[in-house]
């Protein structure tokens, strides 16, 4: 009767319950911030920039009241891979040299590896913050607003925003269908096959079968969705409330711009 210890799952596209300053921000602001920070990190992946961005993300997470439980459990194999990476990188040596008691340890390789890992973690955390604090319903209207300057260039921004909104609506239903497909496959007996060749062939047919079943269901869903759109007289509004930045958003954007500028200046000055 003891509670089985379960791994925390990856929860997709659902904000952490409750509200906060960060939850209240316009979705477009969050998308801009993530985009800008990703760009800065891509151009200047130095320690100082990574550290500053990590602090920024950390403060935002604190403001948004993200509990530790929101993080999915990290599987053991990932830790092991990381550890192997660290050991190998340390063995790789390189400048600088750390003097530990009597031994000299070359930690250059390790530092490079750690910096790369830190960069990946910050980038992942950025995306996760958007997912943890944004209602999916707000994403498509925000993109429609952000894309408005592209309209004179004849980009069908409106169509794209509607397609995105509908795709986000269909997405959880498709995931549920995948879950069923996977379960249906688990229920079947495993055929015993003589050799690797037969196994590979069987794997290929199975993939096509699963894909065909998935596509069939998706097509049916699309047909019904098409009917529902026709019944509404085609596309038009996608949100009841207007989607645009508020004063808090300008503050958030300014803070982000300030931190990015500071990071770049420090990095270029060679302090990184």
């Amino acid at each position: 009767m003891s509670a089985a210890r379960q791994r925390r799952p990856v929860v997709l596209l659902r904000p952490v319950p409750g509200t906060s300053v960060i939850h209240e921000l316009w979705a477009g602001t969050k998308l801009i911030v993530v985009f800008v920070i990703s760009l800065v990190l891509a151009f200047y992946p130095g320690w100082i920039v990574i550290a500053l961005m990590a602090v920024l993300v950390g403060v935002a997470a604190r403001l948004a009241h993200i509990p530790r439980g929101a993080l999915p459990s990290i599987p053991r194999w990932l830790w092991i891979l990381l550890l192997i990476g660290c050991v190998l990188a340390t063995l790789g040596g390189g400048e600088p040299v750390l003097h530990l008691w009597s031994a000299d340890l070359e930690v250059g390789g390790l530092l490079k590896f750690l910096r790369f890992t830190a960069l990946s973690i910050v980038l992942l955390a950025l995306g996760a913050m958007v997912s943890w604090t944004t209602n999916v319903a707000d994403v498509a209207p925000a993109i429609a607003t952000l894309g408005r300057p592209l309209r004179p260039l004849r980009f069908p921004v409106e169509d794209w925003a509607v397609a995105l909104a509908l795709a986000l609506r269909a997405f959880p239903m498709l995931l549920e269908e995948f879950r069923l497909l996977y379960a249906a496959r688990r229920l079947r007996p495993r055929p015993v096959l003589p050799d690797g060749r037969a196994k590979r062939r069987r794997w290929l047919t199975e993939m096509v079968d699963l894909l065909a079943a998935g596509v069939t269901v998706a097509l049916r869903r699309a047909d019904e969705m098409g009917d529902a759109i026709t019944a509404r007289g085609g596309t038009g509004q996608i949100a009841a409330a207007p989607s645009r930045p508020r004063p808090a958003d300008w503050v958030a954007l300014s803070i982000c711009a300030g931190v990015c500028a500071l990071a770049i200046v420090l990095e270029i000055r060679g302090l990184g």
Binding site: E177, D227, R232
Partner: protein
């Protein structure tokens, strides 16, 4: 099903939009699986297929919209790597689809993939040239790891030489990184293209013959919207190529303020009549209106259809009400929601609504268009009892209050009682006898435990069926989804009961009662958070397959293309073993001639039976059926119930049914467990039947 009507230039048509959205979501889901799930990277190759399908069937604009949607979702969830996978696959898939449509061959595909590879390589090289620091960091991190491996190798004499060579090779490789990357880009692009080409060809082969279930066509009509009064004079409809009328000649007039019920058996043309009222031209006869139909337009015709989930297009309740209205229209969302009994739910997520709530929301969205006529097409048929009553409440009096006509199409005779008048389409006596209109499933009163002595059991006792052996034993089962996360949601609490050999148990509960979770736990597909579920004394989750489960969505359980292959695969014997396939089909009352039939050509009832044939051929300890009757017409329902009752009685099959309805299940399932909010509210043994037991 290639291109639907409507304008070929300009904005996407409803059908194109829906295809772009759903295929975009499918691509995004595949891309995300390939990034998030460990060792599933190969799945990313399949992202090309949905995109290829769009390229094959629709114009470029559709493909672009789908790529944008898919890339954005992939980016939101899986970050930049998901984004890149979607973009690459959209490009390759789109090219594959277009080449296929134009009749190109594998060689064309290879040529195109080389060009694509070169372009892709140039793009990566350009990006890495600009992002010099990121490049340096990546290369240095890689070098550090390689150096580490080499220094380990150097410790051992036999490897020393090759270690030095490796180091030199790696350094040279990094020096010529653009060349290497270019080679890599071309190589991967070719592989992805060839796999995509192969998979798309196979899938397209499979999709031939899949029926198109879309009904409504977007109209290209001009003039003022005025659908009422509508007068049908001997209007008749026959689908092109069909040998009989879908709708026999009908004459009727519908005016403002009327509440008209249209009843009739399956196949009597109820839906066809709906299509005519929505603007389809009759094959003969006349339909007169003062203006145009104005489907979905302000003051025009609004339609609510059968499937609750697919009616709703917005992710948030308030957004769904206004979805599709012309920009700038002001809508009093709160009042509309109040009118359909959803007051205060503006900010709720539509994903969490029950079937009844979804249908009410669809009615609210229809009313937001201030329609002259509202057509409700079997809107209660996939909704539970409580939802059905709520919906009927909303519909009654609507026509008077709103100054519009309400046309309520239903196959439940007593739902028509609230209408002003009834149009019965099944005028042929034969038809009535053959299929018959169903009575509304009457709610069976749930007796509280202890009221009828001798006929009730408490949820914890296992004393139901005399001497029979227990098959399923649940002891203190509880389940929490997303345990330890902020999204934790308790689905089940402290469920204990026993199902014995030959039992027939109905697990009854409304939306969100946890009944599906319970079914998954019994089938071993979900491991409960607390408590234990034993199958013949062994933990269920360690023996998946011992207890069979038939899902409501039968199509998802049919993984093979043909009936015989499907049954053989599910049962675990060779598809050439015709005898066993035939006997499996016979068990579920299917004719052997169906064996070579493609699964997509089966009816809903046949699909359920084929699934059961595969499951039963393995002699499962018990068979769980999730909503086995949903979506079937009255005749198929009766046939399936008869078959199941027979199997339980005569073959001793243990049956557990999961359902939100009681209708007709009394004989199959004498024992009822009522589930509410994740706990057993009451357990009932129906009097006078201990079916299948000595």
């Amino acid at each position: 099903m290639t291109s639907m009507g409507g304008p070929r230039v300009g904005s996407l048509t409803p059908v194109e939009m829906a295809q772009a959205a759903v295929m975009g979501a499918l691509s995004a889901a595949l891309a995300i699986v390939s990034v998030v799930v460990p060792f599933a990277g190969g799945v990313s190759l399949l992202v090309t297929v949905p995109m290829g399908l769009l390229g094959y069937r629709y114009r470029l604009r559709v493909l672009l919209a789908a790529s944008f949607a898919a890339a954005t979702i992939a980016f939101l969830i899986a970050g930049i790597s998901g984004f890149m996978i979607v973009l690459n696959c959209a490009y390759v898939g789109g090219a594959t689809g277009i080449i296929k449509r134009r009749g190109g061959g594998t060689l064309t595909m290879i040529a195109v993939s080389v060009v694509a590879g070169i372009l892709n390589g140039l793009w990566i090289i350009a990006a890495l040239t600009v992002l010099a620091r990121l490049r340096t960091l990546t290369f240095e991190a890689m070098t550090a790891n390689v150096d580490g491996v080499i220094s380990v190798m150097s410790q051992f004499e036999p490897f020393r030489q090759s270690a030095a060579q490796t180091r030199a090779m790696f350094a040279t490789a990094l020096q010529y990184w653009p060349v290497l990357l270019m080679g890599y880009a071309i190589f991967t692009m070719m592989i992805v293209s060839l796999v995509g080409w192969w998979a798309l060809s196979r899938v397209l082969e499979r999709l031939r013959g899949i029926p198109d279930v879309h009904k409504l066509d977007a109209l290209t009509e001009m003039g003022p919207v005025a659908p009422l009064p509508v007068r049908l004079s001997e209007a008749r409809f026959r689908y092109p190529g069909a040998d009989h009328d879908a709708l026999r000649p009908v004459s009727l007039t519908i005016e403002t303020g009327e509440h008209v019920a249209v009843i009739g058996a399956n196949g009597s043309g109820k839906t066809t009549l709906m299509l005519l009222l929505c603007g389809r031209e009759p094959s003969s006869g006349r339909i007169d209106r003062p203006g145009t139909v104005g489907l979905g337009q302000l003051g025009g015709t609004a339609v609510v259809m059968q499937h609750p989930e697919s009616q709703v297009l917005g992710t948030r309740v308030a957004d769904d009400v206004v979805w599709g209205l012309p920009p700038g229209t002001h809508t009093d969302v709160g009042r509309l929601l109040g009118e359909v009994g959803l007051a205060g739910m503006e900010e709720r997520d539509t994903g969490g609504l029950s079937g009844g709530e979804l249908q009410r929301l669809a009615v609210a969205a229809a009313l937001a268009r201030q329609p002259s006529v509202l057509i409700a097409d079997e809107i209660t048929s996939m909704v539970d009892q409580r939802g059905r009553e709520g919906l009927l409440d909303v519909l009654s009096g609507l026509a008077d209050r709103r100054q519009m006509a309400l046309i309520h199409i239903t196959h439940y005779n007593n739902e028509a009682a609230i209408a002003d008048r009834t149009v019965n389409l099944s005028d042929s006596v034969d038809n009535m006898v053959m299929v018959g209109s169903a009575a509304v499933p009457a709610p069976t009163p749930i007796p509280t435990p202890g009221v009828t002595s001798n006929s009730t059991v408490t949820s914890n006792s296992a004393v139901t069926s005399n001497s029979a052996l227990p098959v399923l034993q649940l002891d203190g089962v509880g389940h929490v989804y997303g345990n330890d996360t902020p999204w934790a949601k308790t689905a089940l609490r402290d469920i204990s009961f026993t199902v014995n050999e030959g039992d027939g148990v109905l697990i009854h509960g409304g939306n969100g009662s946890g009944k599906s979770t319970l079914a998954w736990i019994m089938a071993g597909l979900t491991k409960p958070t607390t408590g234990s579920c034993l199958v013949r004394g062994r933990p269920a989750h360690e023996h998946v397959g011992d207890v069979a489960i038939a899902f409501q969505a039968a199509r998802l359980q049919l993984l093979r293309s043909r009936v015989d292959l499907e049954v053989a695969s599910a049962a675990g014997f060779s598809p050439w073993d015709t005898g066993r396939v035939m006997s499996a089909l016979a068990t579920v009352g299917l004719d052997g001639s169906l064996a070579r039939r493609r699964v997509d050509q089966l009816s809903g009832g046949q699909m359920r039976r084929v699934v059961m044939a595969g499951l039963l051929a393995r002699w499962p300890q018990a068979l769980i059926l999730d909503e086995p009757l949903a979506g079937l017409d009255a005749a198929s329902q009766r046939g399936l119930l008869h078959l199941l009752t027979d199997l339980r009685r005569n073959a001793g099959l243990t049956v557990v049914v999961i359902s939100h309805d009681f209708a007709g299940l009394e004989e199959l399932c004498p024992r009822i467990l009522h589930l509410e909010n994740g706990v057993v509210a009451s357990a009932v043994q129906a009097t006078g039947s201990a079916g299948g037991l000595p």
